[in-house]
Amino acid sequence: MSEKDLMTRRIKPITTAAVIFFLVSAVAPLFVASWATLFALILAKGIVVLGIVLLLQAGQVSFGHAMFFAIGAYTSAFWGKYVGGGDILLYLVLGGISSTVFGLIVGLFVVRYREIFFGMLNLAFSMVLWSLLEKMFPYTNGADGIRVARPGLLGFVFTPETFQYVILYVSLLIAAAAFYGVQRYLESPLGHMLRAIKSNETRLEYLGMSARRVLLIGYVISAFLGGIGGTLVAIIQQIATPEFGFWTKSGEFVFIAILGGGAHAFGAFAGAAMFECVRFYAAAHLADSWQLILGVVLIVIILYAPNGLIGLRQRYRQSGKGGR
């Protein structure tokens, strides 16, 4: 059996799972009102994590990706503060543009490095951004952040009850589009080249491809996804704070990617759903131990299901077949 057949056989059930997941996010919140916000957050974060998963294909881990998340969020916040008014679509466009531009600038520097050095430089950039957001109090309102007033959509203004569903379905549409787009990208020649950076960068260079350029493209896409996710979260939460760009946030995104399984785009959403639900319910029932629970869940996943939640399914199938 060729590798390609194996891939499609592996991917199909996961795609089905993804479709089911998106359907559930669309329907379930209609029955439990507070799920609207929960699912919107899951989807928005899933979009960010999609960017991390994308870079994971190239074997690179960014420990500063929260910077693009923060840039997206603060773009809306600044617009609301200094220009006023606003529309979900406008915010998304602006957040997408600003994070792409930043992604390109930072990317030009970081794609020269690999592995720990790549991660470190990303971390350094994000910490600079974080310190600036914290310290430029007159402009950023410091640690308390900037409020993001509830925007309309295409000129329509919504009541709070309707708005939580509006933003849910906007997030859902974008998440589904991002998922499809990233899938297509990874299956495209560019996506294959991105994977080649992990497996054999030198061979890529022999083929006349600039590994840096391939990685830069991936990096900018991933920054763009981070910015879009950040914009959505800022709109959902109606606030942008420096915490959005702190290193623990970056760590959380990587955490979610590994939790879900970094090998497949759907891992981003599976991980985000797991993460937010554990945190949501652990915080609800064991308010002072939610970190402990999340930490233990992560350790168990890493030690016993190295391919994340997605891998769990495969492991089950493999053991079912009894083969190795």
């Binding site: 669309a26 439990v32 009102a33 916000t37 929960l38 309102n141 509830r150 379905y169 949501f280 609800a284």
Partner: protein, 433 residues
């Protein structure tokens, strides 16, 4: 769009059912959701406040609850971070259907939750957060502040300083770098400039929130020798600053003003010298000069000490205020409704303009124009007394909130600019310990 309509219909139907159920008769319980810090540095306030809430609720239920209905509490952690806080807040309001919420301690959390409460049409008491701006920029229906804000708190401390040390020439500030640290200094310095324009500000230091080390700041202040050093830091940060400053003689060299130091006095114990000016974010002091012989007040303090091992600090009293405000509002609403159980909206109507008294300090009024609480302010100076292994407050002044709070509709800073030096000469009663 179909989904949206369904959702909207579902939400509306739930609202109607809930409303109908309430109007029919007494509910089983009044559910209160409380946002407080259970993790992070601000849990120095949040955890004692949680203990107080549990104690007060138990006591209240023993006495039959509010209007004969027991209260039931649920807590959410402000320290869990932005998304978790908002989603949990939405959960307790939308799923658990709490009747009222008390949120929150930090101004940051209030900034996040106040609009959500307004959106969800649930009555919320800002039970501890002090940023003046929230209620000055927008008129809310469902949000009330059951205590003072930064403006009267800082103004009281400043007037106390001007009254007791009228001749100082230089001042420096060391505040935590976040909204409270910045805003409190803006209030203080604006008022100072208006009332005593000759004072020179020699240093404005805003070390990072949670900074573990202030050695460099202390060195700089030792070299600058300002007459007065103001800090509105709290919790571990204040403890560290005071200890590092004390160890190196800075507390002896300059007059220290601890804007909200009441909450650290017991922890600092012997490390806190005499002669520091301490504010209390309200008239909160477990030996409140007007209440210290009141049996209910003494009983509450003793019970709290027995439960937690420490005397109550201001967040504890702030929590008590939120409960009393809620009880007063319900009682008022029941009365207005001819003894029938009121709807949520009727309770909100009744809350506006309420005056309530915990008995642990002077009464508080919720100003109807902007839902701002008018709360007296107590400021004192540290002094040793036998029988206590920490300092007590002496020469306490209690300020009338109507005089030192900015009028509704006028922004704090604008109002502070209009103050005259004579303002500080107001009559304020002084109490010995």
């Amino acid at each position: 769009m179909q989904y949206l309509k369904t959702a909207f219909a579902a939400a509306a139907a739930t609202a109607i059912f809930a409303g109908a159920a309430l109007a029919q008769g007494k509910p089983q319980e009044i559910k209160i959701g409380i946002a407080t810090f259970l993790s992070g540095p601000a849990s120095v306030f949040g955890v004692p406040a949680k203990a107080a809430a549990e104690m007060i609720a138990e006591d209240l239920n023993k006495k039959g609850g509010i209007g004969g209905v027991p209260v039931k509490l649920s807590f959410i952690d402000e320290g869990a971070g932005g998304e978790a806080l908002v989603s949990n807040y939405r959960r307790i309001v939308q799923d658990d259907k709490v009747d009222a919420t008390f949120a929150a301690i930090s101004s940051g959390s209030c900034n996040q939750l106040v609009p959500v409460a307004e959106d969800l049409k649930v009555m919320n008491f800002m039970w501890d957060c002090g940023a003046a701006s929230i209620l000055e920029t927008k008129k809310y229906r469902y949000n009330f502040r059951t205590q003072a804000n930064g403006t009267p708190e800082m103004l009281a401390v400043l007037i106390y300083l001007l009254k007791t040390k009228p001749d100082f020439k230089t001042i420096a500030v060391v505040n935590q770098d976040y909204a409270w640290g910045r805003e409190s200094w803006e209030i203080f310095s604006t008022a100072l400039k208006a009332m005593k324009p000759d004072v020179q500000v020699v240093a404005e230091l805003f070390p990072k929130f949670g900074a573990p080390d202030y050695s460099t700041e202390v060195s700089r202040l030792l070299a600058l020798r300002p007459d007065v050093v103001l800090t509105t830091a709290w919790g571990g940060d204040l403890d560290t600053l005071v200890r590092q400053a004390g160890q190196r003689g800075l507390l002896q060299q300059s007059t220290f003003v601890l804007g909200i130091g009441e909450s650290s006095i017991q922890r600092l114990g012997k490390d806190l010298p005499e002669g520091l000016i301490v504010g209390a974010r309200g008239d909160h002091w477990f030996l409140h000069p007007e209440k210290k012989n009141d049996p209910a007040f003494k009983a509450f303090n003793e019970a709290f000490k027995a439960k937690t091992g420490a005397w109550p600090i201001y967040p504890v009293y702030h929590m008590a205020q939120a409960f009393t405000a809620l009880q007063t509002a319900y009682d008022k609403a029941i009365k207005a409704n001819d003894g029938n159980w009121p709807t949520r909206e009727q309770v909100v109507d009744a809350t506006a303009g309420t005056e309530f008294a915990t008995g642990f300090g002077r009464p508080v009024t919720l100003r109807p124009e902007d839902n701002q609480g008018l709360e007296a302010q107590l400021v004192g100076v540290t002094k040793s007394f036998p029988g206590y292994d920490f300092k007590l407050l002496d020469n306490m002044m209690i300020f009338d909130p109507k005089v030192i709070t900015n009028p509704a509709g006028v922004r704090s800073v604008e109002w502070l600019k209009t103050l005259k030096p004579e303002f500080a000469k107001m009559d304020v009663p002084t109490f010995k310990q």
